[in-house]
C-alpha cells in the first residue's frame, strides 16, 4: 500500500452524469476519466499538451485533459467522446469521419472529434484554410488530414478541394 496520500473530494458532471470521487491531487483529468471512470476513449499521446489526443470539452471549451489536474475539474461539466453518439446514432461529425476515411489507427480520433465538436458549435468552416486551422491543434500520424479536411467542408456545406481517387 502506498503511503497515505491526501485525497481530495471531486464532484463534477461527466457526459451528463454526476460523478463523485476521492482523488490524489497529482492525477490528471485524463487518467481520472480513463482509469477511474473507465472512459478509455480519451487517449494519452504526449502528456505535454502538444498532440491533442487527450482533448475533451470542459464547460463548453476544448482543453487538454493531460494538462488539467482532475481536482481542477471540480464543479465542471466534462464531455468526452463517449457522449457524441446518442442511442447508438453517430453524430454528423462522426458519420462524416466514417464516410471520408478520417481515421486509420484511431488513436488520435477522439481528440479530433472533441476539438471539432467544440469548434463546430461556433459555426461552420468556410474554406479549406479554416478547416486546416480547426484541425491544427491536433496531431495525426496516419491520415495526413486529407479526409478530415473533406469531412469538415462537407459538414459545413462548402466546396471540397482536389479530386479524390482517380
Amino acid at each position: 500500500m502506498a503511503e497515505e496520500q491526501e485525497l481530495h473530494a471531486l464532484n463534477l458532471v461527466v457526459n451528463g452524469e454526476s460523478q463523485s470521487a476521492l482523488v490524489e491531487a497529482r492525477v490528471s483529468l485524463a487518467d481520472f476519466l480513463r482509469h477511474r471512470l473507465g472512459l478509455t476513449g480519451t487517449h494519452l499521446g504526449c502528456e505535454q499538451g502538444s498532440c491533442g489526443a487527450c482533448t475533451v470539452i470542459v464547460d463548453g471549451q476544448a482543453v487538454r485533459s493531460c494538462l488539467m489536474l482532475a481536482v481542477q475539474a471540480e464543479g465542471t461539466d466534462v464531455e468526452t467522446v463517449e457522449s457524441l453518439a446518442v442511442d447508438g446514432q453517430l453524430s454528423p461529425l462522426q458519420q462524416a469521419f466514417h464516410e471520408h476515411h478520417c481515421l486509420q489507427c484511431g488513436f488520435c480520433t477522439s481528440g479530433f472529434l472533441m476539438s471539432l465538436t467544440a469548434r463546430l458549435r461556433h459555426g461552420p468552416v468556410l474554406d479549406e484554410h479554416e478547416a486546416r486551422e480547426a484541425l491544427s491543434g491536433n496531431l495525426c500520424r496516419c491520415t495526413g488530414y486529407a479526409g478530415m479536411v473533406r469531412a469538415l467542408l462537407e459538414l459545413s456545406g462548402a466546396a471540397a478541394p482536389a479530386a479524390e481517387h482517380r
Partner: protein
C-alpha cells in the same frame, strides 16, 4: 510521465492564497491555467511540495476595459481576452499576439498572467507587454508592488516576482487614437514557439506620421528585448520603405541572439530585423487602409 506528489491547495480568497505563498515560499508554485506548469510537473522538471491553485479566487478572474486601459486578472484565460469585444479594436497588438500563442485548446485554459509569470524567452505575451509598456501588479502579504513590464523579466523563465508574490493582474494602458499594433513571428509550424517574434505598436498623426512607436522582440535574448533605437528611427516617419530598411538594420545591430539546435545566432539576427520591418510594414498598411 506522472508528476511527483505535492500538497494541493485551492483557496477561495486572495488573502488565503497569499498566506499560503508566504508560508511555503520556494516550496510552493502557483497554478492557474497550468499549460506551462503541468508539462514541467509531468517531466518532473518541477517538483514543488505545494501547488496553490488560484482558479477559485473570484476577484482574480476579472477582465476590465476602461478608457484608460485594460486590467487583466490573473485567471483570465488567453482565449477570453482574445475574444473580448473591445480587445481587437483597442488592443490589436495583444489580440494579434494571442492568436499566435500555441493552439486554441491551450488558450482555452492558459492565462495571460500565467504566461507572463512563466517568462519563456520565446513566448509572445512577454514581448507584447514590453512593447505595450504594461504594468504588472504583484501582491504578497507584505503588500502590492507595481512593476513595469520593462523591468519585470529577468532571465529565461525568471521574473522579478519574489517567492511569496503572486502576479494578480497586468494593466495595459490604452493607446492613443489612430494607433495600430501587430505581432509577427517566425515559427516552423503554426502554434510552435517562435524562433523569433516581433511586437510593433505605433500611434499616427492625421498625416500618417508616427507620433510614437514601440518595438520589441522575443527569442533573441533571455528576456524580451525593447528596441529603442529602432523605434526612434520609425518615429516621425511615415514608415517609408527606406525607413523600414533602416529599422531592419538597427534591429540587427541591437540584437545578440543565442544559438541552439533550432537556429544559429546569425539566423535569429537576420530574421529579427526582417520581422521588425514586416511588422512596421503591416502597421503602415493598416494606417493606409484606415485613411482610405
Amino acid at each position: 510521465m506522472k508528476p511527483r506528489q505535492f500538497e494541493y491547495h485551492r483557496p477561495r480568497r486572495l488573502d488565503e492564497a497569499l498566506g499560503l505563498l508566504a508560508e511555503q515560499g520556494e516550496e510552493a508554485k502557483v497554478i492557474a491555467g497550468g499549460q506551462s506548469l503541468i508539462p514541467m510537473l509531468n517531466f518532473r522538471l518541477a517538483a514543488p511540495a505545494h501547488l496553490v491553485d488560484i482558479n477559485a479566487v473570484e476577484e482574480l478572474g476579472t477582465l476590465t476595459f476602461t478608457p484608460d486601459g485594460v486590467r487583466i486578472g490573473a485567471t483570465v484565460r488567453q482565449h477570453a481576452l482574445e475574444q473580448a469585444p473591445d480587445a481587437a479594436l483597442s488592443y490589436p497588438l495583444l489580440t494579434s499576439a494571442l492568436g499566435q500563442v500555441a493552439h486554441l485548446q491551450i488558450r482555452n485554459r492558459g492565462t495571460v498572467c500565467g504566461s507572463l509569470a512563466h517568462a519563456d524567452s520565446a513566448a509572445e505575451l512577454p514581448a507584447t507587454m514590453v512593447a505595450l509598456d504594461a504594468t504588472m501588479v504583484a501582491r504578497s502579504v507584505r503588500g502590492e508592488r507595481r512593476i513595469p513590464a520593462r523591468e519585470f523579466f529577468e532571465f529565461h523563465l525568471g521574473t522579478a516576482l519574489e517567492a511569496d508574490e503572486l502576479l494578480t493582474a497586468v494593466e495595459v494602458p490604452a493607446s492613443p487614437p489612430r494607433s495600430a499594433g501587430t505581432f509577427v513571428e517566425l515559427a516552423r509550424r503554426a502554434g510552435d514557439f517562435a524562433l523569433v517574434g516581433a511586437a510593433a505598436q505605433a500611434s499616427f498623426s492625421e498625416g500618417g506620421r508616427v507620433l510614437a512607436a514601440a518595438l520589441s522582440c522575443s527569442g533573441v535574448a533571455p528576456t524580451p528585448l525593447l528596441l529603442e533605437e529602432a523605434a526612434a528611427i520609425a518615429t516621425g516617419s511615415a514608415l517609408e520603405d527606406e525607413v523600414l530598411m533602416e529599422v531592419d538594420q538597427a534591429v540587427r545591430r541591437a540584437v545578440d541572439p543565442p544559438a541552439d539546435v533550432h537556429a544559429s545566432a546569425s539566423y535569429r539576427r537576420v530574421v529579427a530585423g526582417t520581422l521588425a520591418r514586416r511588422a512596421l510594414g503591416e502597421l503602415r498598411a493598416t494606417r493606409e487602409a484606415h485613411d482610405g
